[in-house]
Amino acid sequence: MAVEKLDPSPITQTKPLVQVDRLKKYYPIAAPFRRAVHFVHAVDDVSFQIRPGHVFGLVGESGCGKTTTGRVLVRLTNPTSGRVLLEEKDIFRLTKLQLVQFRQSVQMMFQDPYESLNPRMTIFDIVSEPLDVNGIGSLREREERIADMLNQVGLTPPQAFLFRFPHELSGGQRQRVAIARALVTNPRFVVADEPTSMLDVSIRTGIMQLLAGLREKLGISYLYITHDLAVARYLCDDIAVMYLGKIVEQAPAEQLLRHPLHPYTRALISAVPVPDPSYQRPPVNIKGGVSRPVDPPPRCRFYERCPLATRRCANEDHPPLVERDRGHWVACYEV
């Protein structure tokens, strides 16, 4: 099994915080009054591990299953099969008490700060919601905690923000509120679903610095979902590239960006804009767009768009992830 082989290097050898094991999520294409026969393979046999205090980046085009993976990891969606272990406990087989603890130790940040805050609640109510529903602390303690949290995310002085409504704040401030809400229960693991993609570039830097700072200070592990390689490079320790529900390449961030092996990763990296007008872009040699993975045929998922594709890629199943270098995993027959 891929998980066992994904042994981290001996120096950083610690028990993984999160283990994702052969995770699959298929969505039936519904037909009224009939059993669904076609399925969208949103996440198809994905395994990875996140070590404590590390940031694991999940990179890919839209529709490749990265958000679905994130949603399964916080139990917003049930997987079709596979396991997710948080500190060696299966998160889909928790007792009631464990579930309460799980809800506090795992949080999620959302993409759109204009959608993720209830417009009818004050900032205080929004940030205190995770404490409220779990019945943590007295009112007094919550007030102090929330003020402290707003301070930490850079909304100072907190008194000026506590009783505002989301529409009175800017996009960056809203995202800071969303971060405060996610971190108020002191979670160990946070799924960050493109928290910077809806923000202006100038504000994005601030939010990224904040996330990086909080990570060091509070020792939180992130699953950082993004389509932006620059963001991933700034924040992530490891990056996995997803394509149509499969991880096609996984490596430490610098390694992946400097020596990409998979043709899809290479194409992604060469498509990153460079702020240099005289820069000659190498020709991107993949064609077409991402298709919907409806009942994918048993061959390499990237076959149609791959410049290197051979007969083997068409005849055999999707290639397994194999370790090419230390910690560098690729799913390709041809590299």
């Binding site: 949603r71 916080v74 139990r75 917003l76 579930l99 309460v100 809800r103 506090q104 795992v106 949080q107 999620m108 959302f110 993409q111 759109d112 959608e115 993720s116 805050l117 209830n118 417009p119 009818r120 609640m121 004050t122 205080f124 929004i126 919601e129 995770p130 529903v133 779990n134 009112l139 007030e143 102090e144 905690r145 929330i146 003020a147 402290d148 949290m149 301070n151 930490q152 850079g154 100072t156 907190p158 008194q159 506590l162 009783f163 969303a178 809400r181 996610a182 971190l183 108020v184 229960t185 002191n186 830097t205 601030g206 610095q209 904040l210 700072g213 909080l214 200070k217 509070l218």
Partner: protein, 327 residues
């Protein structure tokens, strides 16, 4: 760029007593926010003429109804009582408007203006009570159906379809024929029938659009129960729409009440519909120019009263739907 204070959460404040973040009791702050929100909405509402006119008419009817008990202190109740009164001095009845009876008398010698004023508060009561019941039921069912979907949704939506298809007034006529339908019975029956009807569909669709926002997901990740999500997120966000529909429902209820009173099915001693019923059953609804004072005041009152609530609803619409605003 970002100044982050070095302090871990959950750990107690580093030194001395923690600085109180909130210096006032929470309810005081919440009350202030409520007042402020109300004031802001009032500003928007005020800009729509139609809403203000409606509110003016409702206020007028409020004063009109409140004036009746005061007025009864100054006039002879034997003559001016709207139900038992009789005026032997202005024969024959119905007598046309005069100084003694500003709007004339009805076929059995009772003062029309007195009847009109006396009925006002019951119209308010019936309309608001029925609309309140409708909205409470409609909001609960609509949000629950929208949130859970599946069988619950199908069941209540088909029920709503049946309610919409059912002829409302004939149904009430049938119901009225085998139970004694007074004012309150009418209010709650029509409230319940309305509550399972069209309003559920509207509020369900609204709940559906709120259900997919990411703050619902955030609440789920935080561990919020379904009850918490419906109570804290979905209901507050459909509330403005419910309130709007409440205004439109008052109109429907009053019209229903007038119709049923006119058919003589409601067991009510006096109402605007009843006034027209009295004129009709005595055979005085013959032509427009004869005996107009028997039906015109009551008819006008019904029309204006219903229109007023409708207009307030339209004004509120602009508060609820920012897209309708002219700015």
């Amino acid at each position: 760029m970002v100044q982050v204070q070095v302090q871990a959460p959950l750990s107690p404040a580093p030194s001395g007593a923690p600085v109180p973040a909130v210096t006032e009791p929470l309810w005081k702050i919440r009350w202030r926010l409520l007042v402020r929100g109300f004031r802001q909405n009032w500003e928007v509402f005020r800009e729509s003429r139609i809403g203000l006119i409606g509110l003016g008419i409702i206020l007028f009817f409020g004063l009109f109804g409140a004036a009746w008990p005061i007025m009864m202190h100054f006039v002879d109740p034997n003559i001016y009582n709207p139900i038992t009164g009789f005026d032997p001095m202005s024969m024959p009845h119905p007598s046309p408007p005069s100084l003694r009876h500003w709007l004339g008398t009805d076929p059995i010698g009772r003062d029309i203006l007195g009847q009109l004023m006396y009925s006002t508060h019951r119209e308010f009561l019936i309309g608001v009570l029925a609309a309140l019941i409708t909205v409470v039921i409609g909001t609960l069912i609509g949000t629950v159906a929208g949130y859970y979907g599946g069988f619950t949704d199908t069941f209540f939506m088909r029920l709503a379809d049946i309610m919409i298809l059912f002829p409302f007034i004939p149904l009430l006529i049938v119901v009225g024929s085998f139970i004694r339908m007074g004012m309150f019975e009418f209010a709650w029956i029509s409230g319940v029938l309305g509550g399972f009807g069209g309003i559920t569909i509207v509020l369900k669709s609204q709940a559906l659009s709120i259900k997919v926002r990411s703050y619902i997901d955030a609440a789920k990740v935080a561990g919020g129960s379904d009850f918490h999500i419906i109570r804290a997120h979905i209901i507050p966000n459909v509330m403005p729409l419910s309130f709007l529909y409440m205004m439109f429902n008052v109109t429907g209820t009053i019209l229903g009440e007038a119709t049923l009173s006119y058919f003589g099915i409601l067991n009510i001693d006096m109402s605007w519909g009843m006034m027209i019923h009295t004129a009709d059953s005595a055979g005085y609804l013959i032509s427009f120019d004869q005996y107009w004072w028997l039906w015109l005041p009551a008819g006008l009152a019904i029309t204006l009263f219903c229109a007023a609530f409708y207009m307030v609803g339209r004004g509120l619409d602009e508060v609820v739907n920012p897209r309708l605003r002219k700015r």
